[in-house]
């Protein structure tokens, strides 16, 4: 548990400290040095335009992790509001919002994101929009489920009978019960967002060059796969390591929470 969280924090630290750690400007083109193998000067080698891969990887963490955080957090906000409205808004609001959720789930999320980002035109903004509108549904389902079960929970009924205001009931009883399960969903969606950003980048619908983003780097590297295969390894490894760290942190969190629930 500790190790996994430490690993996840390491990635975040690398992203934050990129300007200090990166040996070169990630956008500095150096044609004479293109496609050079790893060496003392260029630890991981250079790409087709002679840019330092290590520097691009470090700056790329800012894009991949930062945007994934933004996207999963926006999804969390939208989904929680929709889910709670469905749980508490009465039969028809619930029906409408849940059918809307089903509609968004009627399509594999990442494929929908590819279509939306592609149709709206390849740019970072349309990528953020596309990944956000396809990422709120799980939060909504979880929030609705917890909301509905809380409504018949003894302590919520007691609070209502005591005459506690709806705001206080939300503050003291709903939000503390929702947070753990939503956090677990959030870690999963954070990891999915990293995968989504790199997939869209790889297809050319995401972060646009010359910004260093892991998926876009893979797209560039793919062309020179036969001559310099190592170029292709690093960005992929970065994606896998960060997704793995976040997923494992999420698993550990879920186990810790379910143990606490069992204690109760």
């Amino acid at each position: 548990m500790r190790n996994v969280i430490a690993l996840a924090f390491c990635f975040i630290a690398l992203a934050v400290l990129a300007p200090i750690l990166a040996p070169y400007d990630p956008a500095a083109i150096n044609i004479p040095n293109r496609l050079s193998a790893p060496s003392a000067d260029w630890v991981l080698g250079t790409d087709a335009l002679g840019r330092d891969i290590l520097s691009r990887l470090l700056y790329g963490a800012r894009w991949s992790l930062g945007l994934a955080f933004l996207i999963s957090f926006l999804g969390l906000l939208i989904g929680t509001v929709i889910g709670l409205l469905a749980a508490l808004g009465g039969k028809w609001v619930d029906w409408f919002l849940m059918r809307a959720t089903d509609t968004f789930l009627s399509f594999p999320e990442l494929v929908a994101a590819v279509v939306i980002a592609g149709v709206l035109g390849a740019s970072t903004a349309s990528m953020i929009f596309a990944l956000t509108v396809t990422s709120w549904m799980r939060y909504a389902r979880v929030a609705r489920g917890v909301g509905l079960s809380l409504q018949s929970e003894g302590y919520v009924i007691q609070a209502r009978l005591a005459g506690l205001s709806p705001l206080s009931i939300a503050r003291w009883h709903y939000i503390p019960s929702l947070l753990p399960s939503l956090t677990v969903v959030w870690t999963g969606m954070f990891a999915r967002a990293i995968l989504g950003i790199s997939t869209l980048g790889f297809l050319g619908f995401g972060v646009q060059p010359p910004m260093p983003e892991w998926g876009t780097m893979l797209l560039d590297a793919r062309i020179h796969m036969r001559s310099t295969p190592l170029q292709m390894i690093w960005p992929g490894l970065a994606v896998v390591m960060s997704v793995l760290a976040i997923n494992l942190a999420g698993d550990a969190l879920r186990d810790a929470l379910s143990e606490r629930v069992q204690d109760i």
């Binding site: 929970e153 003894g154 302590y155 009924i157 007691q158 609070a159 209502r160 009978l161 005591a162 005459g163 506690l164 205001s165 206080s168 003291w172 009883h173 503390p176 019960s177 204690d263 109760i264």
Partner: protein, 241 residues
């Protein structure tokens, strides 16, 4: 004075309750006895305003019951408390909600009456026994001095000895505080020992009702008789020569 007149409650196209008429005066105890599925919990929900009535009137002193903030003691004591909050916080919730001052003297008097050690309130619900949790549940129900307290199977999660002990504590507090108690239970023994009146609920209707002694002595309906016989057969009531 609680009056329930000709109340009906609809649940998924069938009547969960029909033609319910009851009355309960200040300081008195009414037991509603019946088996699971008879509509006991629905009746409590209707009185508390949690379940809408399809017909009939429910009032306390001629006004809606909700304005008097009746309180409820639940069957599962642990589930009645937020697992993340200390028992003290939950107990004081009615006072906070209704803007009442926290009367430490009253709190410690009630704690004494319910045999609750003061430090117990600083624990979480998961850190106390079920019997203790139920006594704290009763404490919360009484803290804001409501005129009416509803008990939904208050003893069925407890073991036989704790049941009798808790029932005695409730009765003692009732004579001090003077609240009206409506007890819903499947245990005719408990009703016989502590209620002034008994109403028998079966399939959403009251099939028999009246003073406790008269009912135990001579139930009028077949169902009433079978309830009474079962209480003897299971040792809840005992005949002595």
């Amino acid at each position: 004075m609680l009056t329930v007149e000709n109340v009906a409650v609809r649940r998924a196209n069938t009547l969960a309750l029909e033609g319910i008429t009851l009355s309960l005066a200040q300081g008195r105890t009414l037991a509603v006895v019946g088996e699971s599925g008879a509509g006991k919990s629905t009746l409590i929900g209707a009185i508390l305003g949690l379940v809408p009535c399809a017909a009939g009137e429910i009032a306390w002193a001629g006004e809606p019951v909700r304005t008097y903030r009746p309180s409820l003691v639940m069957q599962e004591p642990r589930r009645a408390f937020n697992p993340r909050l200390s028992l003290r916080r939950s107990v004081c919730e009615p006072l906070v909600a209704q803007g009442l001052p926290r009367d430490e003297a009253r709190l410690s008097r009630l704690c004494q009456g319910l045999e609750i050690q003061p430090d117990l309130l600083d624990r979480l619900p998961s850190q106390v026994s079920i019997g203790q949790a139920q006594r704290v549940g009763i404490l919360r129900a009484l803290i804001a001095s409501p005129p009416l307290v509803l008990f939904d199977e208050p003893l069925s999660a407890l073991d036989a000895v704790t049941q009798k002990h808790t029932a005695r504590l409730i009765a003692e507090l009732q004579s001090e505080e003077g609240f009206a108690a409506l007890i819903v239970t499947h245990d005719l023994g408990y009703a016989a020992a502590y209620a002034d009146e008994i109403a028998v609920l079966k399939a959403g209707k009251i099939v028999e009702g009246g003073p406790t002694a008269a009912f135990i002595d001579r139930p009028q309906t077949e169902y009433g008789k079978s309830l009474r016989n079962a209480a003897f057969a299971l040792g809840a009531l005992e005949q002595v020569a």
